[in-house]
């Protein structure tokens, strides 16, 4: 850049040169302007940088919040429907199955009890018959005792032995009768109780089988509901993952767009090197080259030199 304006304004001097004092004032003014300009640029860059960092932080917080929320939902879902078998639904199904097996076992035990009651009733019938038979034996023993007494009376003093036999037979008949009466009373009680036991056992077995059946139905229902719930959860999780992907994609886009700050910051900082060159040129033109060494170095330096933003290739990814 040339300083034609300055040259034009100072052509009035006979030798065409700018007075040194004025030249230095011009150089100082330019230096001051450069300092002020860079200060303003740095202020703008610091402010926009801070705001962009806050904005990006907010975007990240939204994504982090959503990620944490989805993670909590997944943990909750996993506790309800744990694929590792630890979920609530699986536990309910397992408990239903345990109860169903328990009632099946109870039904089997009751069936065995029923069968035992039937056998006991049959045994009781046999006992009653045996008691009836022994009652005949008692009658026979009493008859024998009577005969023995008659015989003893007939033979007189020589019939003592018949008298003893008659007494024993009579005693035996009484004992048999007593035993029969006891058996009859027990049999009567058992005849009354055993059918009731058998009846209760049958009723209990029926209830138990009904309950077992209900539990099977309940287990099947729980499994159906669990399957349905798994399907809903799977769809919900798919939707959630899809939305999270979209959120992260949007976040990436926001981060991409927020790079405008860096582009602007770089662009503003690129003002300094040409300004520095302008100062050197000015000092040279005005004949005050000694000020060049004192000029502050540029803050910003790019390997590729001053250039506009590469809009055409921006975002291009080359992998070697």
């Amino acid at each position: 850049m040339t300083l034609s304006v300055l040259e034009t304004n100072f052509e009035s001097r006979s030798d065409g040169a700018v007075p040194k004092r004025l030249a230095r004032r011009l150089a100082d003014g330019l230096a001051e302007f450069r300092t002020l300009l860079m200060q303003r640029i740095n202020d703008v860059n610091a402010t926009t940088s801070r705001e962009v960092i806050l904005a990006a932080g907010s975007v990240a917080a939204v994504v982090d919040g959503a990620t944490a929320h989805v993670r909590r939902v997944k943990e909750m879902v996993s506790s309800i429907d744990g694929h590792d078998g630890g979920g609530v639904a699986a536990a309910v199904a397992r408990q239903s199955e345990v109860l169903r097996r328990f009632f099946e076992s109870v039904s089997r035990d009751i069936a065995r009890q029923e069968s035992a009651s039937d056998r006991a009733q049959q045994s009781l019938q046999r006992i009653t018959k045996a008691a009836s038979d022994t009652a005949h034996l008692a009658s026979a023993a009493r008859l024998l005792a009577l005969n023995a007494r008659i015989e003893a009376a007939r033979v007189g003093g020589h019939g003592n032995c018949f008298s003893t036999i008659a007494g024993e037979m009579q005693h035996l008949a009484e004992q048999i009768t007593q035993a029969n009466e006891f058996i009859d009373s027990v049999a009567a009680r058992m005849s009354k109780d055993l059918p009731e036991v058998a009846l209760s056992a049958r009723a209990l077995r029926a209830s138990s089988e009904e309950l077992s059946k209900d539990l099977s139905l309940a287990t099947a229902e729980v499994e159906r509901e669990t399957d349905g719930m798994r399907d809903v959860i799977r769809r919900m999780m798919e939707q959630s993952d899809h939305e999270m992907s979209y959120l992260i994609k949007s976040s990436h886009e926001a981060l991409s767009h927020l790079q405008f700050q860096d582009v602007i910051a770089q662009g503003l900082l690129r003002i300094e090197p040409p300004f520095h060159e302008l100062q050197i040129h000015q000092a040279t033109e005005l004949g005050i080259e000694d000020v060049i060494a004192a000029l502050p170095k540029t803050q910003h330096k790019e390997i590729g030199g001053d250039k506009p933003v590469d809009q055409d290739n921006a975002g291009e990814v080359l992998l070697f």
Binding site: S49, V52, I53, A56, G57, V59, A60, V63, I248, K249, S251, H252, E253, L255, S256, L258, Q259, F260, Q261, D262, V263, A265, Q266, Q299, H300, K301, E302, I303, G304, V309, D310, N313, A314, G315, E316, V317, L318, L319, F320
Partner: protein, 123 residues
């Protein structure tokens, strides 16, 4: 364990934007503010698995850091992607020759950057 990526850039906004994109993709991120800082971090942290490296930085620029790290031998296989506003073919060739694995032109697309990192870290 999450793979660790070192982001070297003098711009705090770029470091943050690259860092957030990578963190959302599941990577651990550490930062360095220029090439010299980057060389020091690579030298002291053997868990760094990749470097995203700016070119224009004060003290030591990205190409100098690339050449220093690769010349060290210990980290010769460390994948490095250059992330820069520079697009000159001569600079790209210099980076490629020095051992860079990629070159991304700023302003970058976060999605493509993450995809490139994933690709190189899987390979």
């Amino acid at each position: 364990m999450a793979k660790k990526v070192l982001v070297v850039d003098d711009s705090p906004t770029v470091r943050q934007q690259v860092g957030l994109a990578l963190k959302q993709a599941g990577y651990e991120v550490v930062e360095a503010t220029d090439g010299a800082d980057g060389v020091a971090k690579v030298g002291t942290d053997p868990t760094i698995g990749m470097v995203i490296l700016d070119v224009n930085m004060p003290r030591m620029n990205g190409l100098e850091m690339l050449e220093t790290v690769k010349a060290g031998g210990k980290n010769a296989d460390l994948p490095i992607i250059m992330l820069t506003s520079e697009g000159q073919q001569s600079l790209i060739e210099r980076a490629k020759k020095a051992g860079a694995k990629g070159w991304i032109v700023k302003p970058f697309k976060a999605e493509l950057l993450v995809a490139a990192v994933k690709k190189l870290l899987v390979a």
